[in-house]
C-alpha cells in the first residue's frame, strides 16, 4: 500500500504549545525504548549463545546501573501514560476540547508514580551499599 504522507524534516520544527512537546517526547521516548530493548535483547542473546564477551558485558553493565534504570523507568512511564492519553483522545474525540487539562492530569499522575519508583530504587541502591 502506497502512502503519500511524508512531511519531511519540516515536521520536526517546534511550532509551539505543550502538546507538541508531549508529542516530541513521545516519539523520542519510543525510539529510545526500541534502541534500549533491541540492544538489550541482542546483548542477552550474545551472552546466552556465545558466553560473555566484552561488548555484551559493557552493554549489560550500563543497563545494570541504577541511574540508567531510573532513566528507563522515566521513559517507559511517560510513553505508557502519554499513550493512554492518545488512546483516550482518539477513541473519544469529544475530550479533545480538554487536551491541555488532560496533559496536566497526565503529569499529575506521572510525577508521584515516577518519583516514588525512583525514590525507592535509589533508597535500595544506597542502603545496599
Amino acid at each position: 500500500m502506497a502512502l503519500k504522507r511524508s512531511i519531511g524534516l519540516d515536521g520536526i520544527r517546534y511550532k509551539g504549545g505543550i502538546n507538541m512537546l508531549s508529542w516530541r517526547l513521545h516519539r523520542w521516548s519510543g525510539i529510545g525504548i526500541v534502541l534500549f530493548v533491541g540492544l538489550h535483547m541482542l546483548a542477552s542473546l550474545s551472552t546466552q549463545v556465545f558466553g560473555s564477551s566484552y561488548l555484551a558485558d559493557t552493554i549489560n553493565s550500563i543497563y545494570m546501573s541504577v541511574y540508567f534504570q531510573i532513566l528507563v523507568v522515566f521513559i517507559i512511564y511517560f510513553h505508557a501514560l502519554h499513550g493512554l492519553r492518545v488512546i483516550l483522545l482518539d477513541f473519544w474525540p469529544r475530550f479533545l476540547e480538554y487536551q491541555k487539562e488532560i496533559t496536566w492530569a497526565q503529569w499529575l499522575i506521572f510525577i508521584p508514580l515516577f518519583g516514588l519508583t525512583a525514590f525507592i530504587m535509589l533508597l535500595i541502591h544506597f542502603s545496599a551499599g
Binding site: R5, S6, G30, L45, A80, I124
Partner: protein, 147 residues
C-alpha cells in the same frame, strides 16, 4: 498546525496498524499490571519462606518483561517465575512489544523519508528487523526456562 488525520476505516495496513498500536499499548499496560500482581502473589510465598522481598528494580524489570532471568539472581526459587503461564505472557509480550516498536519506527520513516527508493528499502529492512527480533526473543524465552 494541522494534525494528521486518523486513517480511513477499512481493510488496509494503515488502519489495522492504527488499531493495533492502540490495542497493543493497552495490552502491554495490562500485562505489566498482571506481572506486578503475579510478582506479589509469588513473593508472598517467598517472603514467608525467607523473609526477603524482591527489590523494586527487579519488579520493574519483571513487569516490563516477565522472564525468569530478570529476577533469578534475587529469588531463591526461580521455577515458579518460569511457569507456563509466564511463558505464555512472555510470548504475547514479545509479539506485542516487537510489533509495536517496529510499527513505531515505520511511522517515523513514513513521516520523514520522502517517497523514494530509500523508503521502500527501509520498509524492507524494517520487515526483516521485525522477523529477526521475534526470533531473537523466541530464543531468549526458550533459553530461560527453568524447571
Amino acid at each position: 498546525m494541522s494534525a494528521r488525520p486518523a486513517p480511513r476505516i477499512g481493510f488496509s495496513l494503515e488502519y489495522i496498524m492504527w488499531i493495533f498500536i492502540r490495542i497493543s499499548g493497552l495490552f502491554m499496560i495490562l500485562f505489566a499490571l498482571i506481572g506486578i500482581a503475579g510478582a506479589f502473589w509469588m513473593e508472598a510465598r517467598i517472603y514467608f519462606q525467607s523473609g526477603e522481598f524482591v527489590d523494586i528494580g527487579a519488579l520493574a524489570r519483571w513487569a516490563f518483561f516477565p522472564i525468569s532471568s530478570h529476577v533469578s539472581s534475587l529469588v531463591p526459587d526461580a521455577a515458579a517465575w518460569s511457569h507456563a503461564w509466564w511463558q505464555i505472557m512472555q510470548y504475547l509480550m514479545l509479539f506485542f512489544a516487537v510489533t509495536h516498536g517496529v510499527n513505531g519506527l515505520r511511522q517515523v520513516i513514513e513521516d520523514y523519508v520522502g517517497g523514494t527508493w530509500l523508503r521502500i528499502m527501509l520498509r524492507g529492512v524494517l520487515f526483516l528487523l521485525w522477523m529477526f527480533f521475534l526470533l531473537v526473543g523466541w530464543q531468549l524465552i526458550q533459553g530461560n526456562i527453568i524447571t
